[in-house]
Amino acid sequence: MFTYTLRRLAFAVPTVLVISLIVFLMLDMAPGDPTASLPLTIPPEVREQIRAALGLGEPVIVRYFRWLQMMAVTEPLHMIAAATGWDIAPAGPRILSWQTRSPVGDIIIQRIPQTLWVVGLGYLFGILIAVPIGVISAYKQYSWFDQIGTFVSMVGFSVPTFFTGVVFILIFSVWLGWFPSMYDTTLRVTDWDSFMRQVRQIVMPVAVLALFNASQISRFMRASMLDNLNQDYVRTARAKGLREQTVVLVHVLRNSMIPVVTVIAIGIPTVFTGAIITEQIFRVNGLGDALIRAIYVSDWPMVQTITFIFAILIVLFNLIADVLYGILDPRIRYD
């Protein structure tokens, strides 16, 4: 198991490096100059100094390693320092956002909680809905429950989130007036009243994400259950007189969860990137919103950082999925 994990890790690190290079180069070669919007009265030498101060004068490779060092060491340390209050923040330059002139890391730290709440709850509820539906659908294959469940999950992942979100706004905030259509990040939860307001405003974005995730996961769950229900060990379990409940919920479910757990792990980063759209619909000012706004105004350091964070999330969760699969299913370790 240890060598297996090491081998996966040995592949993950170069992947991250190559992705960082791609992200860096793509935006580095981007047309557009950060000094272009400065007044034309600035003399050329001063403009050169400004460019040098922004770190633009040096060769690409130097800038890449400098960026990588800031990205991989300086910014995380600053983020940890800001979150815990420890005095570990190193001195030296940081990645500055071109739109706000403040360190990118600080903005990201402000944005992460909103994204985590919305995305996390959306995914959690999605899983909680999907697993029972998948189990029942598979156990009663071709029953009316299965037929409806399969159809709804097909609709659920065919209808794009930007349409479900808009329909939810239309029904629940325009017509019924139950929930606000915009997410108010300034809301502080201090008492029961503000807590309820927080719940009301988070319901719709979470519901949109939960619906989408549930429809995908329930299909996997159903397929995986169906694969297992016809296996010999199920017949054995029944033959030795176990209760049907035990057979399905202990023997079959546990085995069916193996691929589903890895699918869930792999899906987490996609949910983050997919939440870009949900955040736009409900005006949640999370990480995705920061990315979109940065793209609108060509704030490339911000775009690079957020894209890189997404890339790290993908590689990390792929690694977690691989390792989890190895732990749950010893057959695939081959070591």
């Binding site: 996966r8 592949f11 992947t15 190559v18 992705i19 791609i22 793509m26 935006l27 981007a30 047309p31 159809f151 097909m154 609709v155 992942f157 065919s158 209808v159 794009p160 930007f162 349409f163 808009v166 329909v167 706004i169 239309l170 325009v174 691929p259 890895t262 699918v263 792999i266 980063p269 990137t273 997919g274 870009i276 759209i277 736009q280 990315l291 979109i292 793209i295 609108y296 060509s298 775009v303 957020i306 894209t307 997404f310 890339a311 999330l313 993908i314 590689v315 792929n318 999925a321 691989d322 699969y325 695939i332």
Partner: protein
């Protein structure tokens, strides 16, 4: 799951590969009773496909949508860009079946022209993605030397955050391509290419797996022993046999390409405002949702119906192309 470094399954049970193309002579003793004339296997596929109700319904809806966007503008000859400020924000009526927008443009005409672009983007991006994926899959599966580098590249692409990268690609290269191809064609080319280069990986993996299994089969050995060059072995013997998975992923590719294009338009990074696509109409209608909900519902319904129907077709196709199910 994402592990392509796993050694290829040496000989996986692959009943989904149809029998080799040179049809068997019906002379062997077992086949004496089977005197039906030889039948193209695609007829069997079609027979199986017909039994899938969802797929047939999806086919019907998809064909209707295609007719709506292709033939529709000939029947409903209204200029989608015609601004008639006096008749703005109208509801449904005989003159404007879907109403008009804030500039008095007819929504039905805009839906038809928008659908053209959306469906065209979906089809083109799918085609390009499939060609790319198949090419890489066949090269990686057939030539041992190329396998490792190509599959590492595939893994790398799978680890990229695709939606952010798409957004960046569009934001970065829109102006460049608009200068080369003109405004509409520039954005069209950019979006098609961008979607294609971020969606070929699954196809490449599936095709590689199938090619790896196929190239060990006797008919490939036979072809090689009579001196068929590699290129022709691939085009004549291997490619026809990996058509099934390619067709399924092509179908699903249309659906995801249409969703991606709409999402880009929805985020304001797709086609320019005077160039309607379904996603763009939805995006423009969002600001008016409280007063005129129809303006977001129509494009949303059309996107969803298209994707849903394509997904159902894909489901039916997958069943129909699986010989384990076919004929039962």
């Amino acid at each position: 799951m994402t592990d392509a470094s796993m050694p290829p399954p040496a000989a996986p049970p692959k009943p989904s590969a149809p029998p080799p193309p040179p049809s068997r002579p019906p002379s062997s003793a077992d086949d004496v009773h089977d005197l039906r004339p030889p039948r193209n296997q695609w007829w069997d596929v079609w027979d199986q496909f017909k039994t899938h109700k969802g797929a047939m319904a999806g086919m019907l809806v998809f064909v209707s949508i295609i007719l709506f966007v292709t033939v529709g503008p000939w029947i409903w000859q209204v200029d989608p860009g015609l601004i008639d400020i006096r008749s703005r924000n109208l509801g449904s009526s005989w003159t404007h079946p879907m109403g008009t927008d804030q500039l008095g443009r007819d929504l039905l005409a805009r839906m038809m022209y928008g659908g053209r672009v959306s469906v065209a983007v979906g089809l083109m991006a799918m085609l390009l993605g499939i060609v790319l994926g198949t090419l890489i899959g066949v090269l990686a599966g057939y030539f041992k030397l190329l396998d490792a580098p190509l599959m590492r590249t595939t893994d790398l692409f799978l680890a990229l955050p695709l939606l952010p990268l798409l957004l960046i690609l569009v934001a970065l290269f829109r102006d460049v391509l608009e200068g080369v191809f003109g405004q509409a064609m520039g954005v069209f080319t950019l979006i098609v290419v961008a979607i294609a280069i971020t969606s070929w990986m699954q196809t490449a993996r599936i095709v590689r797996g199938d090619v790896l299994a196929l190239k060990e089969r006797e008919f490939v050995l036979a072809a090689r022993s009579i001196g068929t060059p590699s290129r022709r072995i691939n085009t004549r013997h291997i490619l026809p046999n990996v058509m099934s998975p390619i067709m399924v992923s092509a179908t699903l590719g249309i659906a995801s390409a249409i969703i991606t294009e709409s999402a880009l338009s929805f985020l304001g990074l797709g086609f320019p405002p005077d160039f309607p696509t379904w996603g763009r109409i939805l995006y423009d209608g969002r600001d008016w949702i409280e007063q005129y909900p129809a303006r977001v519902v129509w494009p949303g319904v059309f996107i969803s119906l298209t994707v849903l129907s394509v997904n159902f077709i894909g489901d039916g196709l997958r069943d129909a192309l699986d010989p384990r199910i076919r004929g039962r």
